[in-house]
């Protein structure tokens, strides 16, 4: 291409200057080449059009790229965050398995893992913060627990939640610390908000539950919060869940109201 461009310019210059056989030959040569180029473009025309069409239908990525550039230029718009692989620290799984062992025994835990399709988790026992597993597996486990343990009663799931809190924080944490630790151990766009009433009662709100539990699964959380609040209580008083609002389709928030018992 570069060679041809130079020769075309030369041809033009020479055509305007002295006329020689050599120049004539040069004009002829560049003309032929430009004709060939034009012919090639005609033949390739459909392909080029197709390529353009494909690029525009592939759309999303290209457009987003464009938007990104525009955003950078404007310095205001921010590109949507890329969805990363969400993981859960092993300590969460091991605490849940210890809780299940205590409530339904070793065979019960194995039955739940088998139902969830997570048999490979049988040997996950050490409360490690070094190893991590996909959050999707935690959701599968939670669903299996709901289906097998949650029918007809909330008591078993609630008791499992209590034990889960004990095994996750055996020496007790303040509620605020425990929530911070949970957030660092379970990836994802989720949150727990805690508000303390003047009379000592506590309200928890889970936004985008990392277990994705609805009723009856959210009773695991109810038991968990009861135990965590009781363990962190400075006067040794117990807490009980008095109200539980499961998440709705409108908002993915479940609310737990805990009353301090006398």
């Amino acid at each position: 291409m570069a060679v041809m461009a130079v020769s075309s310019k030369q041809a033009l210059r020479t055509s305007m200057g002295k006329f020689s056989v050599f120049n004539l030959f040069f004009i002829y040569l560049s003309g032929t080449m430009s004709y060939q180029r034009h012919k090639h473009a005609k033949v390739c025309g459909t392909v080029a059009k197709r390529k353009t069409a494909r690029a525009s239908t592939a759309g999303g990525a290209k457009k987003t790229g464009g938007a990104k550039k525009a955003g950078k230029k404007a310095g205001k718009k921010k590109a949507a965050p890329r969805k990363e692989k969400q993981e859960v620290k092993q300590v969460i799984f091991s605490a849940l398995f210890d809780a299940l062992d205590e409530i339904v025994g070793e065979d019960g835990r194995e039955s739940i893992l088998s139902y969830a399709g997570l048999k490979s988790y049988s040997n996950v026992r050490r409360p490690s913060l070094l190893a991590s597993f996909p959050r999707q597996d935690l959701i599968k486990l939670s669903n299996a627990m709901s289906r097998l343990l949650g029918f007809g009663t909330k008591a078993i799931l609630k008791e499992t939640g209590r034990k889960f809190a004990i095994y996750l924080a055996p020496y007790g944490y303040s509620l605020e610390t425990l929530i911070e630790k949970l957030k660092s151990w379970i990836d994802g766009d989720w949150d727990i908000k805690l508000s303390r009433e003047p009379d000592g009662d506590i309200k928890f709100e889970i936004h985008n539950d990392p277990f994705e539990a609805s009723i009856p699964g959210c009773y695991v959380w109810a038991g968990f919060f009861e135990q965590a609040a009781t363990s962190s209580s400075t006067d040794g008083r117990k807490y009980e869940t008095t109200e539980l609002t499961p998440p709705t389709n409108k908002d993915n928030v479940s609310t737990f109201e805990l009353k301090r018992m006398c």
Binding site: D101, E102, I103, V104, G105, E106, D107, G108, R109, S111, I112, Y115, R147, L148, L149, F151, G152, T153, A155, I156, E159
Partner: protein
């Protein structure tokens, strides 16, 4: 797109009785159609979900999800076992026809435990297992029937998990009684 059909009924059913009466073997025979030769004590509870299609008298198919709780018979699980009865629709009270004490414990321990912790309308049936060991039989069929009548169980049946005798019948009878209780004609 394949749509998974929602079950018409979900029942939680516990299978209880002394250790080594054959509770796990009965369930294994019913679910997997095989007999477990080696005795391996259950640790806590085995949980099994079984989907069943039952046809009613009008030919309508009823989809039932049966959540079976195969509960450990050992005494060390006595404390936590009370939790297992919560939300139960039915119980299978199993004894070993070759061991009298397992029969005596049925009323004294297992029925008492169940009625104290399960809901009042929960059903229960009496099952005498190991019917293939006729020569070693210590609990007669009459004794089993008499107990079943006295405790107002829904039915009494003798089974053998080893050769499969009456195993399917026992479970299906329990489900039919549960469906009848729900107003279905099966």
């Amino acid at each position: 797109m394949i749509m998974e059909r929602e079950p018409d009924y979900v029942y939680k059913c516990v299978v209880v009785g002394d250790y080594a009466v054959g509770k796990t073997s009965l369930i294994s025979r019913f679910i997997q159609k095989k007999f477990l030769k080696e005795y391996k004590p259950t640790l806590g509870v085995n949980l099994i979900l079984k989907e069943l299609n039952i046809t009613d008298t009008n030919g309508k198919e009823i989809l039932v999800n049966l959540v079976l709780w195969d509960v450990a018979g050992q005494e060390k699980y006595d404390r936590v076992r009370q939790l297992y009865y919560k939300g139960c629709s039915a119980a299978m009270l199993v004894y070993d026809i070759t061991r009298v004490e397992t029969f005596q414990n049925l009323e004294k321990k297992w029925l008492k435990d169940f009625t104290e912790n399960a809901s009042k309308d929960a059903l229960y049936m009496v099952v005498g297992n190991k019917a293939d060991l006729e020569d070693m039989k210590k609990v007669s069929t009459e004794m089993g029937q008499e107990l079943s009548d006295r405790i107002t169980a829904i039915s009494f049946i003798e089974t053998s998990a080893k050769d499969g005798t009456n195993v399917d019948e026992a479970f299906l009878d329990l489900i039919k009684k549960l469906l009848e209780q729900a107003g279905e004609y099966v």
